[in-house]
């Protein structure tokens, strides 16, 4: 599996940058010629991961968020979303559907959506140091390319 593209974006945890982040990743993912549905899934997963950095990792301040998108020649994309915020004390608990520390502004479905919309989800975190979310998705080959 060879890497065919690798793009990195960095921005501050302003909520106005959520649409930027998912659009930028979608631009790169588009190079794999995904269907609209596949593209929508990837945008949604990125939106969840980036929103988590803005809402949970840096609740009271502005912090740096890094998003990396890598494309591979088996037609897959890997998206990494990283913050240097408060971290997650119990990752298994955090990944439980409907679990949220965000009150009724949040649904607790972020990780569940990332999991069901991507093929693979990895979460690494250290309290007080930050969180890294790595997601992979294979784009199905199309019979007739446009």
């Amino acid at each position: 599996m060879t890497e065919i593209n690798n793009v990195r974006i960095e921005f501050l945890s302003r909520s106005s940058n959520e649409s930027f982040a998912r659009t930028a990743v979608a631009c790169i993912a588009a190079q794999l010629d995904p269907t609209l549905e596949e593209l929508g899934d990837i945008k949604t997963a990125v939106s969840e991961a980036v929103t988590n950095c803005i809402v949970h990792a840096y609740p009271e301040s502005l912090g740096k968020i890094m998003v990396r998108a890598r494309l591979f020649d088996d037609n897959s994309i890997e998206v990494t979303v990283r913050d240097w915020g408060c971290g997650i004390p119990d990752i298994d608990k955090a990944r439980t559907p409907m679990y949220s520390t965000g009150g009724d502004d949040r649904s607790g479905m972020g990780f569940t959506i990332m999991e069901s919309f991507m093929d693979k989800l990895q979460v690494r975190s250290k309290e007080g140091r930050g969180t890294t979310v790595i997601m992979r998705r294979k784009i199905s080959p199309r019979v007739s390319k446009k």
Partner: protein, 107 residues
């Protein structure tokens, strides 16, 4: 995110257009709650015909609206849901609580 609303015969219809993410959620909730409080409708319809994107922040918006409608003794449902928002609604199992009427048009 652009918001609109109409009220007729006890039914409040709220139109969502654009992208509903965490950035747009607060404004959307404020708008909906203000409309509910003004009309005290017996039914609210969230019309998502022009909503091109929604993430789980939209689920929280729906659940908040649902609770407010319950408080004023009314019901609510979601209508004209495009493909991407529909996938988010289904993944969240929100149809256990709120009735979802998907549109069948292609995105």
């Amino acid at each position: 995110m652009t918001l609109g609303a109409s009220y007729e015969g006890g039914i409040l219809r709220v139109f969502l257009s654009g992208e509903l993410d965490h950035h747009a959620a607060k404004k959307t909730v404020d708008f909906i709650e203000k409309k509910i409080d003004a009309h005290l409708p017996r039914e609210m319809v969230l019309d998502m015909k022009d909503l091109s994107f929604m993430d789980s922040s939209g689920i929280a918006v729906i659940l908040k609206s649902y609770r407010r409608m319950k408080e004023v003794g009314g019901v609510m449902q979601v209508e004209n849901v495009n493909k991407q928002p529909l996938r988010v609604l289904l993944a969240s199992n929100v149809e256990r609580v709120v009735k979802i009427i998907a549109e069948t048009k292609e995105a």
